[in-house]
Symmetry: C2
Subunit: 166 residues, 2 copies
């Protein structure tokens, strides 16, 4: 039952973003102030303030099914925006396609992520990710082994944690 | 034994490309003549003429392991370059980040792929992919469920098949 609730919450968040696939970049996305170039994907749907601090937008690329068992999407974080702390039962792979951001696994220092970087977070490991204060971030995510679950959301990342970059 | 040979052949092809992760775009990559912008990832290692027609370069992003069971990488196809026909036991997801290319599942028409497109090929389904004749292609690939296998290479794509675009 708990698993069902998690999957349903997740689907609610991504269902609109997954509706428009294989399309060209929209005019709206082209008008965004990006660091390097025009965005690859449309901006997507704004993430709930229940799970994000600041403005983060999700665009679904591959939805959940039993064949590929892999969820893929793109998140555009505005400067200063970040996810809450959370875990993924099957782990997560992040691929940065533009801008600069932060990733932190609980108990470890903040890791700075830049265009071209690949970051992995192991299964059931508490982490958060988002843009740096001065730059936006274009971040693709891959959640493998979706039969194990997708995401378990936790508390927001405080300003104290977010600004503790060495 | 057959599975071992397939995995070994695959590892030989990707081992150099996987060696350099989380790095910035190289000068060599920046000098490439791209369609939209500077490449996100380094150019990578040239694919064997045993498996590719023309010049295709692979850069590994996530290598095979038992935790994520997901292989991720980027292929840069020069104009006219394409893979041989092949299958993936766990299927494949392609994400186009720049340029224009072709994807064809056996028995179906050629599908034109552009920046921002997402294309899926089901498990054990014969297909090929590559750049169009006039444009290069930057193509990320995701191979899920790698415990089922990675790739089974087959015959080259003839010019007759490659040029049969409606």
């Amino acid at each position: 039952m708990k698993k069902l609730i998690i999957v349903f919450t997740f689907l609610l968040f991504f269902i609109v973003g997954c509706g428009k696939q294989n399309s060209e970049t929209t005019n709206e996305a082209e008008e965004e102030n990006m660091d390097h170039s025009e965005p690859i994907f449309p901006k997507g749907e704004k993430g709930s303030s229940e799970y994000f601090t600041g403005n983060a937008y999700n665009y679904g690329l591959v939805s959940i099914d039993s064949v590929y068992t892999t969820l893929v999407g793109n998140v555009y974080f505005e400067p200063g925006a970040r996810s809450n702390w959370h875990t993924h039962p099957g782990g997560q792979i992040l691929i940065i396609t533009d801008g600069e951001g932060y990733h932190q696994i609980e108990g470890e220092p903040i890791q700075v992520m830049k265009r071209g970087d690949v970051v992995k977070c192991p299964p059931n490991t508490k982490h958060w990710h988002g843009a740096s204060p001065e730059s936006s971030l274009q971040q693709m995510y891959i959640v493998p082994n979706t039969e194990k679950g997708i995401v378990n959301w936790m508390e927001p990342v405080t300003d104290e944690v977010y600004t503790n970059v060495n």
